[in-house]
Symmetry: C2
Subunit: 573 residues, 2 copies
Amino acid sequence: MSETISLGTYFFERVKQAGVHSIFGVPGDFNLALLDHIKEVDGLKWIGNANELNAGYEADGYARVNGFSCIVTTFGVGELSAVNAIAGAYAEHIPLIHVVGMPSVSATQKKLLLHHTLGDKKFDDFLNMSRPISGKSYAIQHLDSAPKHIDDLIETAILTKRPVYLGFPSNFYDEQVPKSLLTDYKLQLTPPVNDRLVEAEFIENVLKLVESSKQPIILVDACVSRHNATEEVLELAKLTKFPVFTTPMGKSSFGEDHEEFYGHYIGALSAPDVKEVVETSDCVISLGGLLSDYNTGSFSYSYSTRNVVEFHSNYCMFKSAIYDNISMKGALRSLITTLASSGLSFERKLSPPSSKDAYKSAQVCPPGILTQDYLWKRLSYFLKPKDILVAETGTSSFGILGTHLPNNAKAISQVLWGSIGFSLPAAVGAAFAAEDSRKFLSEDVRRTILFIGDGSIQLTVQAISDACRWNLKPYIFILNNNGYTIEKLIHGPYEGYNNIQPWRHQLLLDLFADQIEYKNYTVKTCSELNELFNCEKFQTPDKIRVIELFLEEFDAPESLKKQAALSEKINAA
Amino acid sequence: MSETISLGTYFFERVKQAGVHSIFGVPGDFNLALLDHIKEVDGLKWIGNANELNAGYEADGYARVNGFSCIVTTFGVGELSAVNAIAGAYAEHIPLIHVVGMPSVSATQKKLLLHHTLGDKKFDDFLNMSRPISGKSYAIQHLDSAPKHIDDLIETAILTKRPVYLGFPSNFYDEQVPKSLLTDYKLQLTPPVNDRLVEAEFIENVLKLVESSKQPIILVDACVSRHNATEEVLELAKLTKFPVFTTPMGKSSFGEDHEEFYGHYIGALSAPDVKEVVETSDCVISLGGLLSDYNTGSFSYSYSTRNVVEFHSNYCMFKSAIYDNISMKGALRSLITTLASSGLSFERKLSPPSSKDAYKSAQVCPPGILTQDYLWKRLSYFLKPKDILVAETGTSSFGILGTHLPNNAKAISQVLWGSIGFSLPAAVGAAFAAEDSRKFLSEDVRRTILFIGDGSIQLTVQAISDACRWNLKPYIFILNNNGYTIEKLIHGPYEGYNNIQPWRHQLLLDLFADQIEYKNYTVKTCSELNELFNCEKFQTPDKIRVIELFLEEFDAPESLKKQAALSEKINAA
């Protein structure tokens, strides 16, 4: 007789095998008995969030640092509150599993008019609603096939970097399955090897283009970090000495201390010297490209597609030719090997653009009130390797493009989905991941540093409570600039709808923190910021901190001002 | 040449014609230029919420008091955050219009990879996701037909009492349509007249059953208030002197000061003397029934369906016979006329059950700590006619079943959808509606009185900010009982997942209120509550108030304890 475990425990064991130590979510009567099984898995804990949207965003932030995450909600009322976060994870290629505690199969078969339903005695509406925003959606129907479906969902999430949805009816939580399933089959979490012939043909073409070109460049975008190809990119750059540019979504996917780093390319919003180099290149090696409006200066890329090779997670392109089912990571590895043995010699041809050093002006602290220009440049000198920098959509996400990041720092920003309020819970989720890595993988302490506006923080403020509950120690910088500045720049600068209710941000930690150390700060001038950043005690992440930065209402990074003008044009067209 | 107005203004003029004065929502770049048109309509204002879920719940609460409401969100990120609130409105039969500012038609035709999209260049995913939770969903495609579609959506919402969805591409906001459309066609907002023959046949059968029965009763449920049939029900009760019972969802749909009011029927959870009367009745006139688990004591109704006639919003039933397309309101009017001219004489046969007076024990204030039993009974003496009492799913929604409501008070609780966090923004929305009625219809000041738990308030706390922004003056009673008591009763009484991060509730108004008067209170004993309720100053709604009630963790209304046991059984089956 084989040993058995409950399906609930099986599920959480698999989630842990996929690298998860913290489970996000909110309890509800349809999932309570599922949550009982978390404590049966060593090294797994229930976070317990203040609400589901925050749980979803925290799961997203956790997965961006950790590689995978799990959120549990309850049927209807719980899962639908998380939908925006799940859609964001889908848009931004973040792997997580969303588990929904459903009514029992017998209740659904009897078509009971249960609470948390639409009152129409249907039970698949929410499963269907999850489909467009999920890599795969499935509700368990039979015990026998359930383990296989659970495995498949986790593998799909991690291989495709998309959220997946599991409907888990409450009658199955305690049902028994063979324990041996957990070891007999090992989750397949690495992409399959590329077809050698197809890959070779593609790489041969790339090699020829590289050989014949005078000024190849590498353009690093979102999916490089999503599909774990940062090491390969670094190796390629070090080997070839090609200038490397990153997009807004690619920021931090290539270490900015490396001499190969030449700056950010954002189409028409780029620094002129960056634009010049990229757009005159006769060989653009585009890696993990995701050409959304805010990632491309509203589609103002103007290099010639005749000279572009693209590496994506599941296909590659040579000029206009598509090579399907060839993954970036494998193809890059093959390209490195080919180039290394090609006999080609590589040398640096171009000096880095001077715009790369623009941040250095912050070495001199100007007098007067705090400005966006000084803030983002000065931040460069506060950051340390391995820091996690989280920026809200708005002045922050555009602002950090002016910040120089040390190698191995990580930037998180929701450039494509752009849901305001995302960054606070995402930062909390990232801080959970960093803490789990410290605890379970003995990694160094990593600081989590968030920049969010006074408008955006209103959407998801209770995520601070989640951080306090677990004594996390993020830096929460709140940019108080009197409302939605990004929107004022796009349309209606003086309209009431772009204003907000003013909050006393200095009370947030008093409200949410309980029996933990915390500290509040306010900063109104450049020199106050400079002093704070210079303070050694402040540099140590030994408590949760809220730092309120007072900025002028219409002060914004130049790149945002330009983007806003382009956006309004598209909206009105 | 006819005068024209912009389609944006046309939309808001129609919304105002349907009785709306406050527009809920959050700005986003795809809807900003739509919001410009609100100020062009006299007596219409933009509320501007802290987040979309709260905007949705506030719209729900507003519609429950006002009859209709409107929420504006932005594409993807905004609308999906409101989805849970919209689904709740669908489940609970609440009419509102959800308007989503979409990318322009030219952007969607060019398949631009815009922010706030899933990155798949599709633009109908969110429209499709709205379909299961909307009475009707439509995205404007052509200017010419847009006014007709807008009218149709508003009419559908109000006639079917369901939310509807309007996708409004940004290029249409300023496009011009004939102004005469606004007056040439009048919105059809009252249900069509019933087919006379079908109605007569149904009423004839009802009359025969009434004539032959010894103890007819009237059972009032959710859809009576939703479909504006409260006057007809009162008239029927006064004419026939039949005992009237209300369900949890029907609470306040029949004035509890009327001598015909006999108590609440909740199946097995009913007081024994109520259960006895209802279940031995040989003629149950069921009005607006919505037989969900929490509304029926988990389907424990045990009257014989042989003796039941049902009146619904769009059909009626005599025993098992269905009369389609016959509406409750019209059929009730016809029944009243028929009974009045039938020559039947009606007299009260049964004394009211003694359980009806159980609340009177609160006339004596017991010593000791505050209890749920005293709280809900004592509340009866604090309430005044026209008060709006809002109760969160949990001890509050079950608790108010023990509270005697004065006539014309209104109870709001989300019994079917049961999404925790609903009640705070719903109360704020109700307070907006009351304020609009005072201002625009010269109605009396109405107090809004909310009871919510310390767990539930964490989900939507920033709704307090919305109330402060507009200087609303609700009473916010927070039941601090150390976590999710309702869930502890259902499953896992001592499990960590049913605990929450403790907050300092006394700081909430300090955080959110700006330049308005407000006051905090704490109550720990029955006598403190008694004194507070007796205080004349406290009875006047002249400022926003937070009253923190400290209650024991496992103290709960008896009906909730019984319901919890029944729920766990269904979940595990």
